[in-house]
């Protein structure tokens, strides 16, 4: 394992410190406990959005703190959900009185820690609404699993709910928008390599030179099954078909197509996947109205990608287009 780090135990602290220095115009970094808030928060009268989760998915979540998106991000240890003692002060720091939305990726750890934090924040008089993101079609949502994971679609939820909050929607309304995105977004991912958690020092899983892992999450955990390496077009179908199936996308519908890199895959390859995905959507008569291609929800240096599709309507498209100004996503200002 070779990493540009000093000490596995200080990775998150030092990285977030550097992040804060590089984006001092946009964010303030709190330490002990560690969390990141939007400069000038709380924004008077505005519903605040707080998200968080294990580190190692950068730019998620801290990279999305700023105008039109998150008010605070709470980074846990690498691949480990943050704890209530971080989430509570982050929630308090950004609450303007209009209430706070917790955007939580559906993992047992995140759910339990955010649940506890929400209870305690509410006991302190803050109105908290939690929205669970569970867009991963690789996992069956059944009694026999912890339910679908929250993966790439999270960034779309954060952007669109953030725009709703910025335009002044109420707590319930913002939560409703976020839940609408969750209902209409699905994702599936593939890994060409594992990734190495700094404190573990060995890869999360090993793939032979001719193997890939289909249906991965974003924590370096193995996926649903392992298959022989295929061409990008074939892999794209394997990811996109179940996504479209599950969403029930029909001819004439408008979508946002999001090809997300897992951290170690060149942008050029993401565009090769995007090309085929857009072709498949066109073949089905769907209209790709908006696109996002890049490394937004990563698993350290893992090679691979995920494909997300979000069913759009005029409202969601307008919220997607609304100005956003964060370290990792910026337009319109």
């Amino acid at each position: 394992m070779k990493k540009l780090i000093n000490d596995p135990r200080s990775v998150v602290d030092e990285s977030v410190e550097g992040f804060g220095m590089a984006h001092a115009d946009l964010v303030d970094v709190h330490t002990d406990p560690i969390f990141v808030v939007r400069k000038g928060a709380p924004v008077a009268g505005k519903v605040a959005l707080v998200s968080g989760g294990g580190s190692g998915h950068e730019p998620l979540h801290a990279g999305f703190v700023g105008h039109g998106m998150l008010d605070a991000a709470v980074p846990g240890a690498v691949f480990t959900s943050p704890t209530p003692d971080q989430i509570i002060p982050a929630t308090a720091a950004v609450d303007s009185g209009a209430g706070v939305i917790h955007i939580v990726k559906n993992y047992t750890g995140d759910v339990l820690n955010f649940e506890t934090a929400a209870e305690m924040a509410q006991a302190e008089g803050i109105s908290v609404r939690s929205v669970l993101v569970n867009d991963d079609v690789a996992v069956e949502d059944s009694l026999y699993t912890a339910g679908r994971r929250g993966v790439g679609g999270t960034v779309l939820v954060e952007k669109i709910a953030g725009a709703a909050a910025e335009r002044g929607d109420s707590l319930e309304a913002v939560a409703g928008v976020a839940e609408g995105v969750v209902r209409n977004v699905r994702t599936m991912g593939v890994a060409l390599s594992g990734c190495t958690v700094p404190h573990a020092g060995v890869p999360s899983f090993e793939l032979a030179d001719d193997e890939i892992e289909i249906g991965i999450g974003i924590h370096g955990e193995p996926g649903r099954h392992r298959i022989a390496m295929e061409g990008a077009d074939a892999i794209t179908s394997r990811l996109l078909d179940p996504v479209l199936e599950d969403l029930g996308i029909k001819a004439g519908e408008e979508v946002l197509l999001f090809v997300n890199g897992m951290g170690g895959t060149p942008l050029s390859e993401l565009y090769i996947v995007y090309r085929r995905a857009a072709q498949i959507l066109a073949e089905r008569g769907a209209k790709v109205e908006r696109s996002l291609v890049g490394n937004y929800v990563t698993s350290l240096e893992m090679q691979g990608c995920s494909i997300s599709v979000l069913r759009l309507d005029d409202e969601l498209t307008a919220l997607w287009d609304a100005p956003v100004h964060t370290p990792a996503l910026r337009w319109g200002m």
Partner: protein, 218 residues
């Protein structure tokens, strides 16, 4: 011996726990790597280091206070699924023990039950879901049996530790239905659940701290 266990026992339990988590850190990481995300050993080690710091800062006066302090440290430093689950377990156990300075077998069995119930209340896992519940539930049952048979606090803990270790082993063939390992479906079979393994270690520490010969429960 019918003499109960005091705060020294509780502190010793936590101290031994911290040592075991440090010693078994890599093993727990390896278990979690197989069916999870490679952090369980790191999380538990970090959490119990925090417990030790807190113990040094504010030495507790009762066993309940010691466990409450541990609960708070675990809740705020472990993170992941295990943090809130262990945090709840230790908090419920502490509440069950109340302010008593001296814990007898019945109080102990009650605290173990409360801990297990706390884990179930939070995590909603059932026996056989391949989680730490598979260590805690047999432990609670064994403790109750010993209690009914008239055993003392040490015997209760010894039985709980032994049953937890057996319980952890029984998770090996199971297909996970809760937590991160459940995403793997059938592929989760053939690996021990890391949380069950750490639970067995923690209960072994409890027995050892009470004077039960170390390792004999294995």
């Amino acid at each position: 011996m019918t003499v109960g266990l005091g705060v020294e026992w509780a502190v010793e339990w936590l101290t031994l726990s911290a040592r075991l988590m440090a010693e078994h850190r890599e093993e727990l990481i390896a278990l979690d790597r197989a069916i999870g995300d490679s952090d369980h050993g790191e999380n538990m080690d970090r959490g119990f280091q925090a417990v030790m710091e807190k113990l040094a800062q504010t030495p507790p006066e009762t066993p309940g206070a010691a466990l409450k302090l541990a609960a708070m440290a675990l809740m705020s430093k472990v993170g992941g699924a295990a943090g809130p689950l262990y945090g709840t377990a230790y908090l419920r156990a502490a509440t069950a023990l109340g302010e008593n300075a001296d814990i007898d077998a019945a109080a102990l069995a009650g605290a173990l039950t409360a801990a297990r119930d706390g884990i179930v209340a939070r995590g909603k896992a059932e026996l056989g879901d391949k989680t730490m519940v598979d260590a805690w539930s047999p432990a609670v049952e064994a403790a109750d049996e010993v209690l009914v048979a008239g055993g003392d606090a040490v015997a209760v803990l010894a039985a709980a530790a032994e049953a937890a270790e057996v319980g952890a082993v029984t998770t090996d063939p199971l297909v996970a239905r809760k937590g991160r390992a459940s995403y793997l479906g059938e592929r989760s079979a053939g690996h021990r659940d890391p949380g069950a393994a750490s639970s067995a270690l923690l209960l072994r520490a409890a027995a050892t701290a009470a004077g039960f010969p170390e390792g004999s429960a294995e």
